[in-house]
Amino acid sequence: MIKFLELLGGYFILLKKVLSKPEKPGVYYKQTVHEIVFLGLNSVGIITVISFFMGAVITLQTAYNTENPIYPTYLIGLGCRDSILLEFSSTITGLILAGKVGSSIASEIGTMRVTEQIDALEIMGVNSASYLILPKIIATLLFNPFLTLISISVGIVGGWLAGTSAGVVTSEDYIYGIQYAFIPYYVTYAIIKTLVFAFIITTVSAFHGYRVEGGSLEVGQASTKAVVHSSILILLFNVILTQLLLS
């Protein structure tokens, strides 16, 4: 319990350091642009591939589980759309990014710690926590909502392709289904979840990287902890946000 409180306290102390006034906003802006490319744009590929197959599987599973003459087939499109919107695009994307981006952030910052690059920043009088972590937070908060929107779109296209190719739903029924009883707030809900998850992934991973002591073994351990803790927190906040935003 004491260890947990120590960890939590350390996390909030680091956050305070991260969110302090930047030394030179121009330098931070350049860093943020770099992070948008590195953490955001470089994740488009994996998100696209995963979302496509996710949409395909959801459609096929919905179709096989609702194989009954009393259910209209457009429900397959509706089920696919709502599953992707409400859960898969934000949460699964969050979990994937916790693995990809989280481990990358933890190992990058951890390596900088063990090779004394963070000490070098501190010696120069640079707030190393803010310089290294704040641009990553801003970059993921700005770009991850786009990743979620890409994931939603690609997932729905994947579902349509799989559904029509397998012959479980017609193109007209699927398109009718994805438009039927559409609630625009679900998109807002997905974006809010994405923003919270982006903050969790970046700060938790950076925290584990920043407090590394030792060598390459410890950097690896920090990377693993970053992914595990981010994933658990994403699942926990998924429940909390669902209750808060949909109740």
Binding site: T111, M112, E116, D119, I123, M124, G125, N127
Partner: protein, 251 residues
């Protein structure tokens, strides 16, 4: 001038430095020597504020450094340059960007002015035509030189070097030592060098502090180090076969 009085530092209750009092003079190359694990790096990192000390005082001229908060320390840190054991160059930045980094962060100079200063610093450490290379493309000696160039880019008043010639061949090590001494004199800096290399001690040690088991055992210059009565220092200085033979022949 940097002055340390009654400095104590421990990790998890284990004392690492005990009652260290020493002053490092401006315009001189001050050396902290001792065996591995004697507390040299901890002392250096405590002086620059990377480690919080348990008790004691660290003075930078007339400023009590260890009582300052992060923002107040920033002002003094802008006058510090540090060369780390592993160079600590930023992996993702080129040589030019590494040296320009302090200028980008703390000056309002134009890009042209900054590039001029970068080139001056790189020329000073004899790094030519390598501006666009990444640290991973440099040899150990070149990395140290670039790190020195970065450390002096803001014309610091204080230069700290942690094992500057570890992992280097003897000739490159001598070149790095000479460079540190020249730069110290040129910029009238207060330079503190951590080393266990006796060659450095004899070449650049204008003032030497010898640490053993976290305590200051001896203080003097390179002219006095060979004639000391301190047994632990003599064991350290005459540790290798060549030095032992030399001592025998001197006797």
């Amino acid at each position: 001038m940097i002055r340390v009085t009654s400095l104590n530092k421990s990790f998890n209750g284990q004392p690492v430095l005990s009652d260290i009092s020493v002053s490092f003079e401006a315009g001189k190359t001050n050396l902290i020597i001792g065996r591995s694990g004697s507390g040299k790096t901890v002392l250096l990192k405590s002086i620059v504020g990377l480690h919080d000390i348990d008790s004691g005082e660290i003075w930078y001229d007339e400023i009590l450094f260890n009582k300052l908060d992060f923002n107040a320390r920033k002002e003094i840190r802008k006058e510090m340059g540090m060369l780390f054991q592993g160079s600590a160059l930023f992996d993702s930045l080129t040589v030019e960007q590494n040296v320009r980094f302090p200028l980008d962060m703390f000056t309002e100079k134009s890009l042209e002015e900054k590039t001029d200063r970068v080139n001056t610093c790189l020329q000073r450490v004899n790094i030519l035509n390598s501006n666009k290379l990444l640290p991973s493309e440099l040899s150990g000696g070149m990395k140290k030189r670039v790190a020195i160039a970065r450390a002096i880019s803001l014309n610091p008043k204080y230069l700290f070097c942690d094992e500057p010639n570890s992992g280097l061949d003897p000739i490159t090590a001598i070149l790095i030592d000479e460079l540190i001494k020249e730069i110290t004199e040129e910029y009238s800096m207060t330079t503190i060098v951590n080393t266990h290399d006796m060659n450095s001690v004899m070449m650049i040690g204008e003032k030497i502090i010898f640490l053993s088991d976290g305590k200051k055992c001896w203080e003097g210059s390179n002219k006095e180090v060979l004639d000391s009565d301190c047994t632990t220092l003599n064991d350290f200085v005459f540790a290798n076969a060549l030095a032992k033979q030399l001592r025998k022949s001197l006797k």
